[in-house]
């Protein structure tokens, strides 16, 4: 027994030493060339993400075409500030980095390479932004250090899903009422009430839940910010920008927001609002949606589509009309709604940077440039022709049902797909002028993938996409969206402190307001607590930023 133990220990320590041995050699990268003649880079993204396998097929194809390969790692079990803080303390970086909200710390620590001198040499990178946009990325020292990757439109915009926030409703409710035009908050709840009255349960006898509110942690936007949209303003996120006089308005205290919460309070008392709204977790919320019981809610599409909508389909509930469509709702009839905005959103606060640890900056940028080329871009987002998509006689890309299923499969994605998803990428129309840059933008492909009940609903309203359900508006001004500023605020400034306090108070009081026996008293209590956070500090800092942005934009008029 003892001998066995000793030999096991010896063996294990040998394995241990062997691992240490090869350990010191393994962290090469930095643009080093491997045995196949492929340059290998490393990347760290301070966001949670899907890791791909080392022997990923498309990554290999891209490596053959570009001569480069990037090993990506993602945030695991830490906050992004913590992860970036440790990187900076250690002073050793991966070649590519995106620090999320903490990106600016990397710049301050001198960890990033200025890119402006290089950009002109790489046509695909140069083309990625206009001069004005490039300039907006300049930091306090006048240099550009990172490239925002997302929401950039090539050619004509192609958008089928409304990825953002809306009042959603199940198609069965609309169908039951004969697809009425629903424009106001009152009409929306009226419809839900009436439907619920005559259909208290689903076909199998499960009780319907007329309206639920997701309120879990940071996802409480589903409760708190509908007021700004109901007033006809777009998603500036943290504030309303009054376009008449370029003033920041606090949407938390507007009459519309008060009316919205009063309505929720009224519906709560009527038993329309799910009593578990404020205590349910995200998982429970998704479970409710997935059983098809919930008639309507406010949410952003990405927050429930990839799980609840899929589950509804898998359970065959799409046939019963349990899928959701967005409605263009405002507080009063005849107002313009701006739930959906066209055009990209340039979030200047973070992006892909190259670090001082990278030994081959030109090679790294060449790779980014190659990733933006059409052929590689298609590989990243469409995949391999004949395996992941087909090409019709008209040159249009489409997917077979089997190919669509593969796209949703975690294991398949890990071994096959390689979108390099935190590298710069295009939306909009492909350079061939026909196809969309990404499958999500391909109208026919999108429509074919819809459940019949949603198609029927779209037909009834004479639309083809979710976006058309809401209509679309151009971005309201050069400042848009203001949330790219508020998301970088910290308690280092009075405004940032106020912003954090407001968040805390709203988390606590908004549920109480909705559940209050007497709405007015509840609202007054909330307002009293709210005022004590000094929201004016936050508003004034936002106002300064708004004016700065307008000023910067003037240079290009």
């Amino acid at each position: 027994m003892r001998q066995k133990l000793v030999s096991a220990l010896l063996l294990a320590s040998m394995v241990g030493t062997a691992l240490t041995g090869c350990g010191s050699k393994a962290s090469a990268a930095g643009g080093a060339v491997n045995k196949d003649g492929i340059k290998e880079f490393t990347a760290f993204f301070a966001v949670p993400g899907n890791e791909i396998n080392d022997d990923n097929e498309i990554q290999q194809l891209i490596a053959e075409k570009t001569g480069c390969k990037v090993k990506e790692t993602w945030l695991t079990g830490q906050t992004n500030e913590e992860a970036i803080g440790t990187l900076i303390a250690g002073g050793e970086y991966p070649d590519f980095v995106d620090g999320g909200d903490a990106t600016v710390q990397l710049y301050e620590a001198g960890a990033l390479v200025p890119l402006d001198d290089y950009i002109d040499k790489y046509p695909n990178i140069k083309e990625f932004f206009t001069d004005q946009e490039w300039d907006s990325l300049r930091q306090s020292d006048g240099h550009i250090y990172w490239i925002p990757q997302f929401s950039n439109i090539y050619g004509e915009e192609r958008e089928c899903t409304h990825n953002d926030e809306a009042f959603w409703i199940q198609t069965r409710v609309l169908k039951w009422a004969g697809y009425p035009e629903i424009h106001t908050l009152d009409q929306y709840f009226d419809l839900i009430e009436k439907y619920y009255e005559s259909n208290p349960t689903m076909e199998d006898g499960t009780a319907n839940i007329p309206y639920t509110i997701l309120c879990d942690d940071w996802r409480y936007f589903c409760l708190e910010n509908a007021g700004e949209f109901l007033d006809g303003y777009p998603n500036d996120g943290s504030v309303i920008v009054d376009t008449d006089n370029n003033k920041i308005v606090d949407y938390n205290t507007t009459p519309t927001t008060k009316k919205y919460f009063e309505k929720l309070n009224e519906e709560y008392k009527k038993g329309i609002v799910d009593p578990e709204s404020f205590t349910q977790t995200y998982d429970e919320y998704i479970a409710k949606l997935s059983t098809g019981r919930v008639l309507g809610m406010v949410d952003q599409w990405w927050d429930f589509s990839s799980n609840a909508e899929d589950a509804i389909k898998t359970a065959g509930l799409d046939k019963a009309g349990c899928n959701y469509v967005p409605l263009p709702i405002t507080i009063d009839e005849g107002m313009k709604n701006q739930w959906h905005n066209s055009g990209g959103v340039l979030n200047v606060s973070s992006g892909l940077g190259i670090t001082t640890s990278c030994k081959d900056v030109e090679g790294a940028l060449q790779f980014v440039n190659d990733l933006l080329g059409q052929e590689v871009h298609d590989l990243r987002f469409w995949g391999v022709k004949g395996e992941d998509y087909e090409v019709g006689d008209d040159g249009m890309y489409y997917r077979t049902p089997e190919e669509r299923a593969n796209v949703a499969d975690t294991a398949y994605k890990a071994s096959h797909s390689c979108p390099y998803s935190y590298f710069p990428q295009w939306l909009g129309t492909s350079r061939d002028g026909k196809n969309a840059m990404k499958p999500e933008g391909q109208e026919q492909e999108f429509y074919d993938g819809l459940p019949d009940t949603v198609k029927e609903c779209f037909d009834a309203y004479g639309v083809k996409t979710y976006v058309e359900m809401l209509g679309t508006n151009p971005a309201p001004g050069p400042w848009y969206p203001m949330y790219t500023y508020s998301s970088t605020m910290t308690t280092a400034t009075p405004g940032g402190t106020a912003w954090a306090l407001m968040d805390e108070i709203k988390h606590q009081y908004l549920p109480k307001v909705v559940m209050a026996d007497n709405f007015e008293t509840g609202w007054d209590e909330y307002m009293k607590a709210y005022e004590s956070c000094k929201p004016e500090d936050f508003i004034s800092e936002m106002q300064t930023e708004l004016e700065r942005r307008i000023e910067v934009a003037k240079k290009y008029e």
Binding site: T79, E81, E82, I84, G85, I88, A89, A102, Q105, E108, A109, G110, C215, D216, Y220, P275, E276, F278, T279, Q280, T281, D283, E284, T490, T491, A492, G496, A500, E504, H507, Q508, Y509, L510, P511, K512
Partner: protein
């Protein structure tokens, strides 16, 4: 560092000489103690490097630490971070919450583990005993996210608890357990008991094995029943283990946790659910302020050390087993 540790060794050998003279121990005894001293020195050096050296980082609490400046060049702000903490009403509230949950958890998990270990030991069927013990520690391996998910399920409107209470007419309406502040601490305590009782009991089970069987035999001859045996043999034999674990855990009352409160809490109960660790994440790390977290950490350390020193002295006075 090497300097100070070699100094320490020098002091140790000096003291040793004095003691030897005093005690007039024989030569072989000194030789024996030498082995102990050498090992003590080695292990102390290890302790200094891995536990005490990083405490240099406490300097952050007195700085406005910025990653770009590092530990050496960040701006000193004195006690500002501590002032900030203790002038914030919500920090005082999270201290209260942390203490309350820490103490409740300490008591219930502690008592449950001992009761379970003793009762399990009384199971006469050996196979049954092993099976029960194996099952009891399994929840330890489930992550909090799984356990809290199941708890949420069980306590929801149509969860098993509400259904049972409705069936027995204890209530007329389902209770929304997570909406009331009064339920939060008990739920957290229950979750801790549920997940860790079997695991915590392992130490006591190991200690029970060292009890001399002749003590039980003697008790049996005196006509002791099961309860009497537990009271007069098992519990007294477990006492040193119980005391040591109690003392160690008393120092941990401010570490009531993060994950479980984070996962079970919501806006309605945030007044009672937020702990020091949650506060630090929210107002420190998430705001890019590392110093605040370090300051809170120092506060926790100081309180812990005061607590264990105090309770250690108490134990000493009562002649119980103690930490040092």
């Amino acid at each position: 560092m090497t300097l100070s540790s070699s100094n320490a060794e020098g002091v140790i050998s000096l003291d040793e000489n004095k003691v030897k003279e005093k005690k007039k121990s024989d030569f072989s005894r000194l030789k024996h103690q030498k082995v102990l001293l050498i090992w003590t020195a080695i292990l102390t050096v290890y302790g200094i490097i891995f536990y005490y050296l990083p405490l240099g980082g406490w300097i952050m609490a007195f700085q406005n630490y910025r990653p770009k400046d590092g530990l050496l060049h960040s701006k000193f702000v004195g006690l500002e971070k501590f002032k900030l903490l203790f002038s914030d009403v919500s920090f005082l509230r999270v201290i209260r919450n942390t203490l309350a949950m820490g103490i409740i958890n300490l008591i219930v998990t502690f008592v449950m583990a001992i009761v379970f270990a003793i009762l399990l030991n009384e199971v006469s069927h050996r196979g049954g005993k092993k099976v029960v013990q194996t099952i009891s520690y399994l929840p330890h391996f489930l992550s909090w996210i799984i356990v809290t998910g199941i708890l949420h399920d069980a306590l929801s409107g149509n969860g098993i608890i509400n259904q049972l209470m409705l069936n027995f007419h204890l209530i007329s309406q389902p209770i929304n357990f997570f909406a009331h502040e009064k339920f939060f601490w008990p739920i957290v305590a229950f979750a801790n008991v549920w997940k860790e009782t079997g695991w915590n009991a392992i130490i006591y089970l190991a200690a029970i094995t060292s009890i001399d069987p002749s003590l039980y035999e003697a008790a049996a001859i005196d006509g002791a029943g099961r309860w009497a045996k537990i009271k007069h043999v098992t519990l007294p034999s477990l006492k040193p283990t119980i005391m040591i674990l109690l003392l160690m855990n008393v120092g941990n009352v401010l570490n009531a946790g993060f994950e479980i409160q984070y996962l079970l809490g919501n806006g309605l109960v945030q007044n009672v659910s937020q702990t020091i660790d949650i506060y630090v994440l929210k107002w420190g790390i998430s705001q890019g302020d590392y110093s605040l977290g370090t300051a809170a950490g120092i506060f926790k350390s100081v309180v812990s050390i005061i607590l264990i020193v105090f309770f250690n002295q108490m134990a000493k006075r009562h002649g119980e087993e103690r930490l040092f």
